[in-house]
């Protein structure tokens, strides 16, 4: 039997959850013995195989049309979707901007910041359109939420190892932290 395939991607987050994944150190080799890591921001392949993967992992909230596309693509190509980290689970730090309008946040970021001179809000039609920041579950159905800011390396190892062996991870007690 071939090893289960895992693909990951990141959206509106800080990459910290992927850093935490790498923080499991040599145990990543154990994960690789159990599963095949396909597309991810830290491998050459960037999009999950068209033929599909077993487990998809998404880091980050969804804050524009490009993230929406990423989330939908991952959902369509994986059997089991994991929302990894507080941004994917709740919206997280990026969602702080939801307390303001998008116009306000763009103006602040591109024009009003203290270090900006002659700033302007980019309008290139090729750019993704910003939206309210949403948790992954608001855009596509999620099978497992792994909260944490970031989730501990131990928790990520546990989750991946369980999934690779066909079990549903149980997040409670020490393994359950929202940040």
């Amino acid at each position: 039997m071939s090893k289960p395939k895992v693909a990951t991607d990141w959206m509106a987050g800080c990459a910290g959850c992927h850093m935490s994944l790498l923080d499991m150190d040599e145990r990543i080799l154990q994960v690789l013995e159990l599963a095949e890591l396909r597309a991810s921001p830290i491998t050459d392949l960037k999009e999950a195989d068209e033929s599909g993967v077993d487990v998809g992992v998404l880091e980050g909230g969804i804050n524009n049309t490009a993230n929406e596309h990423q989330a939908k693509l991952m959902r369509s190509r994986c059997k089991y979707l994991v929302a990894l980290g507080d941004c994917a689970v709740f919206g997280g730090v990026p969602a702080m901007r939801n307390f303001f309008t998008i116009e306000e946040t763009l103006r602040r970021a591109y024009i009003e910041t203290e270090s900006t001179i002659d700033g302007f809000i980019p309008t290139d039609p090729e750019l993704a359109v910003p939206t309210k920041v949403r948790a992954v579950q608001e855009v596509v159905p999620v099978d497992l939420h792994v909260p944490g800011c970031p989730p501990d390396a131990d928790v990520i190892f546990y989750v991946l190892a369980e999934l690779a062996q066909g079990r549903v991870p149980e997040l409670k007690g020490d393994k359950l932290h929202w940040h």
Binding site: A83, A95, N98, Q137, C149, L176, H177, W178
Partner: protein, 634 residues
């Protein structure tokens, strides 16, 4: 006793026990948010819903009295899904994103409740409505975005503190916590006791000093007592890396039951005085750092020199904030010397001298906990809004529980807005007032003296009637009467108390006011040619009056924790621990001996008051008795 079955466990509980308390007695934890052991059950958050056999719907355990033969289930699917639903609704209401909240990571009861229910996410996302942050208060911040409307703060403000500053405005999702009629906290009637901050289950009320300075799991909590006044409230001092993080009222403390005041909770945090960190000796007009041995040698030589003089000895003055151990040694050093010594305290017996004038025994006094049982309270000679505030909270909260409260003052203190019997009488007319009250009590009031008092005889008759109808009256008195008839007023008060069968309590002054008086450190002093002034100030800030009275003495020794106008004038300065850095005992106003425990380690060159007195005693060749037990006279 009622017999119940909770999750299959059988238990007998007294009639009137709530299901929540019964479950606790059976060792079963039911999650709660709005409930708090110090408050009356409220039933606001619905997190404690349980299944009762035969009941149509789930019932809140916190408000439901257990019935005989009740069968209760706390862990069924129905109960658990209701809990998750309640939590989902709470999280969806406002901004409960944990990563940028002060209490996240162990200190948040909302987050902990979600963990207990194994919630990995929020089934309903928040609606992103923005609420205000009220940062107008000098000590704490109210972030409405983190509020779950449990009303613990509102109830604590009313039930525990009796201040009723906090309340709720609007209805439904627009419900909002308000101070008074919707003013910023900083300009409200808040008395800054901080009980609301301590009782808040989320990060909605956070104090400015401790916020974002570490979770409760990585800070050390020392159970000790407040030395802000003679009440002796139980507190927990929270420290981290040997620095003060926060002070909280100890919910289990008998005296105060968790409530403390601004003086106890926030004043130590707002400490701005500079510490004295090494002994100092004045050389060529300038204070220079010295070793302890040098400093103590100068002090002992000077004291011995003065002792041989025929006139003008030592004036030794100690703060009543020193622990029993320190005062006991201080008294032995200076009363044991020959010469014309003046030995007293910074209070000079202001709060306690009456106990000797009228052969008053503290043993006859009632403890402050009696305030909670009284049905009539009279306070006189004390402003409980300003001093001994926790006693003031006890009095104010009693008003809400249908206790009649009479406050007698010379000027408006704010108490009058809480009680219909807030009487302002003319300065110096207390004796006339008390005798008028006594006459009225015996139906013999004659109108003529009332003009002097400043209230009508009808009013006094009304007050006397309250005493006639009271089953458990209590009189709480201070000493803010005219000096010339202070003892007479108190004598008259005690006479009235005995005739009306009233309990009585006097509030005294600083933390060890009573004990200082028992050591006879209670006379008023005049320098009268004293050659040396020895001031054991501890961490007390010397008053301007005290400074002016002693600053021209030929030789000044200051034993203190902090720099002050007096330490600047001193010839020798001995650095000592402050209240947080020393172990020691304190005798409360009602005669209870309590132990204060060290919460912080002092800097290396700072000694405790006892260490200094012992070292000085040995330099002087005195044999000091460290046993203080016999010095306490209760």
């Amino acid at each position: 006793m009622y017999h119940l079955k909770i999750d299959g466990k059988e238990i007998d509980v007294p009639e009137g026990t709530t299901v929540l308390k019964a479950a606790k007695m059976a060792g079963i934890e039911i999650p709660t948010l709005c409930d708090h052991p110090a408050l009356e059950p409220y039933g606001g958050c619905r997190l404690c819903l349980v299944e009762i056999e035969g009941a149509r719907t789930l019932q809140p355990a916190c408000t439901l009295p257990a019935g005989n033969n009740m069968v209760i289930q706390t862990q069924t699917e129905k109960v658990k899904s209701a809990r998750t639903f309640v939590l989902s609704m709470l999280f969806s209401e406002r901004n409960h994103f944990c990563p940028y909240c002060q209490v996240s990571g162990g200190d948040c009861e909302l987050q902990n409740a979600a963990y207990d229910e194994e919630m990995t996410h929020w089934p309903l996302q928040p609606n992103w409505q923005v609420f205000e942050v009220d940062a107008s208060h000098p000590y704490f911040v109210l972030d409405h975005n983190r509020c779950i409307l449990c009303r613990r703060c509102v109830r604590a403000c009313g039930e525990l503190v009796g201040n009723f500053t906090l309340g709720m405005e609007e209805r439904g999702s627009k419900t909002i916590l308000v101070a008074d009629l919707g003013v910023p906290l900083g300009s409200s009637s808040c008395v800054s006791c901080g009980t609301c901050v301590q009782i808040c289950p989320t990060g909605a009320l956070i104090d400015r000093w401790s916020a974002y300075r570490g979770h409760e799991t990585d800070i050390t909590s020392t159970e000790t007592i407040c030395v802000g006044c003679s009440i002796g409230c139980g507190i927990n001092v929270l420290t981290r890396n040997n620095s003060l993080v926060r002070i909280e009222g100890n919910w289990d403390a008998e005296i105060n039951g968790g409530v403390i005041c601004e003086v106890g909770r926030f004043h130590p945090m707002a400490e701005k005085r500079n510490r004295i960190v090494t002994p100092l000796i004045r050389r060529n007009g300038v204070l220079k750092a010295a070793t302890w041995d040098e400093a103590l040698s100068v002090v002992s030589t000077k004291l011995q020199e003065v002792n041989t003089l025929k006139t003008g000895g030592v004036a030794a003055i100690a703060t009543t904030r020193l622990p029993v151990e320190g005062l006991n040694l201080f008294s032995q050093i200076f009363t044991g010397q020959s010469g014309n010594n003046v030995v007293t305290s910074t209070e000079e017996g202001f709060y306690t001298s009456f106990t000797k004038d009228i052969e008053f025994s503290v043993r006859k006094e009632a403890g402050l906990e009696e305030i909670n049982k009284a049905d009539l309270l009279l306070t006189i000679g004390v402003n409980l809004v300003k001093d001994h505030q926790v006693a003031g909270f006890f009095v104010k909260r009693a008003i809400g529980k249908e206790t009649n409260v009479i406050t007698v003052t010379n000027e408006s203190t704010g108490m009058e807005s809480f009680t219909p019997y807030g009487k302002i009488i003319n300065k110096g007319s207390e004796l006339s007032f008390v005798s008028a009250l006594n006459s009225a009590y015996h139906n013999q009031l004659h109108g003529e003296i009332m003009e002097k008092v400043g209230i009508s005889s009808q009013e006094v008759v009304k007050l006397a009637t309250l005493f006639k109808n009271a089953k458990n009256p209590m009189i709480i008195f201070g000493v803010e009467f005219e000096a010339k008839n202070k003892s007479d007023v108190i004598r008259a008060l005690l006479q009235f108390a005995s005739e009306t069968n009233s309990k009585f309590a006097s509030l005294k002054g600083n933390a060890n006011s009573l004990f200082a008086s028992q050591l006879n450190l209670d006379s008023s002093f005049t320098l009268n040619g004293s050659q040396v002034v020895f001031l054991a100030l501890g961490d007390e800030d010397p008053s301007q009056t005290l400074t002016q009275r002693v600053e021209n003495a030929p030789f000044i020794i200051v034993q203190a924790s902090y720099q002050s106008a007096l330490s600047a004038k001193a010839d020798v300065v001995l650095p000592v621990t402050n209240w947080l850095e020393q172990n020691g005992h304190y005798v409360t106003s009602d005669g209870k001996t309590q132990e204060a425990k060290r919460a912080l380690v002092p800097a290396s060159d700072i000694k405790s008051n006892e260490e200094v007195f012992l070292a000085l005693g040995s330099k002087l060749g005195l044999v000091l008795d460290e046993n203080w037990m016999d010095a306490i006279k209760i």
